[in-house]
């Protein structure tokens, strides 16, 4: 039997009291397409880092091509043919495609001079191997995410990769680009290059993998042929819970009264067209769609960051205009972003300040003078209410874990007592425990009267919280699902379906 390309056996890794990996073993064949699946905190990132030599396992063995490594270094890992493509693609935005592709090779040869002909030839060679064409002279920073990812893959190929690990590669790709990527992965597999596709997007996992390994809380819980898996099984294994939707206390939307929010013919150039929908009190309205569907643009438009070009918005029956974020927040909109580090938090500042920042103008004694006591009280209040795990509000926000950080962002908005809360991918990068707590919180808020827009591409999440789900494609709303009358499978199918124009 041919030697397996990669074998990890009984890998265990601890970090300051937390067990990240507990006796995990699996293998990857030459040219196999494997998916490594798990929630945040499952250990999949740690596993990747151990395979690529960035971390060293506490115990266990790694075999690459039959060679045994007890303590693997990044250099050794690379030389053995392991290449990791991270989400930032490791590119230089100011250099050309050719240079980006060839630069690592150049450096490793130790040459002092640059022969541009060689650089271009080398780059072209790489591109040819995956049968992709990108202009060699283009500046990397001007290319689309998909193209930049292809450059990263080309780099890996040039480095004679035998195993390419891709970390959440489809995060910023459109449907078409995802299909293109899958074709390339297939090509690579046929050429004998194995791939490990790390993802939490269940429908993609099923499409691309020959085998799926699921990690949960550091342990391997599943290792089998992907064909036999359905979404429910995968999800169950990932979370360890059988989410019995009948046991969820959904909020009952108040369709008898006038809608809380009514949107008519909303239009944003290069964003979305002619959108009309309603959001009722006590309702959790899901909005989903792939990248490029306009769902993010809609969220940002309602929040005032990308004000719509035309159309009408009615809040509680009254016509309003949202031209900037201030308009939105002053009317009672809140926005919980997907990229909380960039858009939601002030990491080096204290937790208290992070909570108080949006309503700071109300925490005053006289005109603009701060009421520090009120600020502290507010903060302590919300830390408790939302169960933010921290010994003190004075600590900086960066001291919190991912799930707690997201709770911090929620606290910031809840402190304002918003009428409408817009959640954009609220549980991305959040551990299982926090995720379900956040879902419960969302349902509680809805039950208390808030209107909630849940923008997400996480189908289980949508099914576990929403009353209705709107599907967007290419800037338009193409379908509406009533949760009670839909299944996850149906939703998943619709999500990735292409219309007659094959878009």
């Amino acid at each position: 039997m041919a030697e397996k390309l990669l074998r990890v056996e009984h890998i265990t890794k601890h970090f300051a009291g937390v067990t990240a990996l507990d006796d995990v073993s699996f293998s990857v064949d030459q040219g196999e397409s494997m998916c490594l699946v798990g929630e945040n905190g499952s250990g999949k990132s740690t596993m990747i880092k151990i395979i690529s030599g960035v971390y060293t396992a506490d115990s266990g063995d790694i075999f690459i091509n039959g060679n045994h490594y007890k303590k693997l270094t990044p250099m050794e890992s690379m030389h053995a043919g392991v290449q990791v493509i991270y989400q930032d693609f490791s590119l230089f935005p100011n250099l050309t495609v050719a240079e980006n592709i060839s630069i690592s090779e150049l450096l490793s040869t130790g040459k002092k001079m640059v022969n541009w002909k060689e650089v271009k030839e080398l780059a072209q060679e790489g591109l040819d191997k995956i049968r992709v064409s990108i202009p060699l002279d283009a500046i990397a920073g001007t290319l689309s995410t998909a193209d930049r990812q292809l450059i990263a893959i080309t780099k890996a190929i040039l480095a004679d990769a035998r195993l390419i690990i891709m970390d959440e590669p489809t995060t910023a790709l459109t449907r078409r680009e995802v299909e293109a990527l899958f074709k390339i992965i297939n090509d690579l597999n046929n050429q004998g290059v194995a791939t490990i596709f790390v993802s939490h997007k269940l429908n993609e996992v099923r499409q691309i993998s020959q085998r799926t390994v699921i990690l949960r809380n550091g342990k391997k819980v599943l290792d089998q042929d992907a064909k036999d898996l359905d979404i429910k099984t995968i999800e169950y294994q990932m979370t360890g819970r059988e989410i019995n939707t009948s046991s969820i206390k959904y909020s009952k939307s108040d369709t008898k009264s006038a809608p809380l929010l009514k949107v008519e013919n909303l239009h944003l150039l290069h964003g979305f067209f002619d959108l009309s929908f309603e959001l009722y009190k006590n309702e959790v309205l899901g909005i989903t769609g792939l990248l490029g569907s306009g769902r993010t643009e809609l969220a940002l438009s309602l929040f005032g960051q990308l004000p719509a070009d035309s159309g009408k918005i009615y809040l509680e029956g009254k016509k309003i205009r949202i031209r900037n974020i201030f308009d939105a927040t002053s009317r009672g909109f809140g926005y919980v972003p997907e990229d909380r580090i960039r858009e939601g938090l002030f990491l080096p500042q204290s937790i208290t300040d992070n909570i108080a920042v949006s309503i700071i103008d109300t925490l005053t004694t006289v005109s603009i003078f701060l009421d520090k006591k009120a600020k502290k009280q507010l903060s302590d209040n919300w830390i408790e209410k939302l169960n933010v795990k921290t010994p003190s509000g004075k600590l900086p926000a960066k001291s919190l874990s991912g799930g707690n950080q997201q709770r911090l962002v929620l606290a910031k908005w809840l402190a304002q007592n918003p009428k409408i809360l817009i959640l954009n991918g609220p549980t991305v990068g959040v551990d299982v425990g926090s995720k379900s707590e956040i879902h419960e919180l969302v349902l509680t808020l809805a039950r208390q009267g808030m209107g909630i827009l849940m923008i997400s591409d996480d189908i289980p999440e949508l099914m576990q919280t929403c009353n209705r789900i709107l599907l967007m494609r290419r800037g338009k709303i193409v379908n509406e699902f009533i949760r009670e009358k839909t299944t996850e499978e149906e939703l998943a199918k619709e999500l990735v379906a292409t219309d007659s124009n094959n878009h």
């Binding site: 930032d88 490791s90 590119l91 230089f92 935005p93 100011n94 250099l95 240079e99 630069i103 690592s104 150049l106 450096l107 490793s108 040459k111 002092k112 001079m113 640059v114 002279d137 689309s144 459109t174 078409r176 680009e177 944003l268 150039l269 290069h270 964003g271 990248l291 490029g292 569907s293 306009g294 643009e297 990308l306 290419r474 800037g475 878009h503």
Partner: protein, 338 residues
């Protein structure tokens, strides 16, 4: 390829230079003469030398403010030493010693920055203060006009001479050769050596540069040493021109040189910039200065006009960007729409 050339920032600056020259020429036809070219070159040579060095730092992603102080210390320090030895020879020895001093100063900057991981702007701020202070206190507080005998004629060392009714006798000064040499060297470094590509890489994405295997410390050190050397050469040259050595040479000029480098298309955030662009940026700056004089604007208002031009220069692209941002970001959607 040609398309890219047209759209490049350098070409834009070039066009501005041509336009401005024509405008000046129309107001004052005396402008269109060989003498003008020689004169402009002569004035810009010293700035070009400094600018080429600064360009490297800017591409790397930082801003060096101490290079002017290096020009002073290198030139004045050499001179003070030479005075003691009663040296009467030519300028070449000054270049030699001055360059050595510049090298040491550049090395000092580079060392402090790499060893202690200090931000470039802050550290060079400190070294600038220190160097000027050192120069003024330890070397001397006044300009010295006591030139070595064989150096007196340096300012007139021309490669080609011409007579001009307005400017008088002027010529293509020999220092243009230094600029040529420095320019070619820096251009070659940036385009054909791994170190040069490394400078761009670090400026583009420092983290990735490190991960890719570039030796950031070594590259940074090299950049600052080159900066120091070029600054020193510029300092000695300028001193030869003005026929005196000053401990406060070029003081306050660092922002002007930076402005020229930015005008030439380098990005203040790093990762972009070319030698040609910088050269054009310096020429343009000189041209504007001249334009102001020739158009008859009173001396006292020239600074004001420069200020207005600068504001316009930075405001216009900014306004354009603001508008573009409002009209709409592009998403994949727009591609699919097409």
């Amino acid at each position: 390829m040609f398309n890219k050339l047209i759209k490049s920032n350098e070409f834009l600056v070039f066009l501005i230079i041509i336009t401005l020259s024509i405008v000046i020429g129309m107001i004052n036809p005396a402008f269109f003469s060989v003498a003008t070219i020689y004169d402009i070159l002569r004035a810009s040579n010293v700035y070009n030398l400094m600018a080429f060095g600064l360009l490297l730092v800017v591409i790397l992603g930082g801003v060096d403010i101490s290079f002017v102080a290096i020009t002073a210390v290198a030139s004045y320090g050499t001179h003070m030493a030479m005075l003691k030895l009663d040296y009467q020879g030519g300028i070449w020895l000054y270049f030699l010693i001055g360059t050595a001093i510049g090298l040491i100063c550049g090395f000092l900057n580079g060392f402090l920055i790499t060893r202690f991981k200090l931000p470039i702007f802050d550290l060079t701020l400190a070294t600038q203060t220190m160097l000027y202070g050192f120069s003024l206190f330890f070397l001397g507080a006044t300009a010295n006009f006591d030139l070595p005998e064989r150096m007196v004629g340096y300012y007139g060392k021309y490669l080609a001479i011409t007579e001009d009714p307005f400017i008088g006798t002027t010529g293509l000064h020999i220092s243009v050769l230094y600029v040529l040499a420095a320019g070619i060297f820096v251009w070659w470094l940036l385009k054909y050596t791994i170190i040069g590509r490394g400078i761009y890489a670090i400026g583009g994405n420092r983290e990735v540069a490190k991960r890719s295997g570039f030796n950031i410390n070594r590259i940074t050190m090299i950049v600052f040493v080159i900066m120091g050397v070029l600054a020193a050469i510029s300092g000695v040259t300028q001193s030869g021109f003005q026929r005196n050595f000053s401990p406060t040479l070029f003081i306050g000029q660092n922002l002007n040189v930076l402005a020229s480098v930015i005008l030439g298309g380098a990005s203040i955030t790093g990762g972009r910039g070319t030698v040609i662009g910088t050269f054009l940026g310096v020429i343009l700056t000189q041209l504007i200065n001249r334009a102001l004089i020739l158009t008859g604007i009173p001396v006292e208002w020239q600074q004001f006009v420069i200020g207005v031009l600068l504001i316009i220069f930075i405001a216009i692209p900014a306004i354009r960007e603001e508008r573009a941002r409002k009209v709409g970001h592009t998403t994949e959607l727009s591609e699919e729409q097409a």
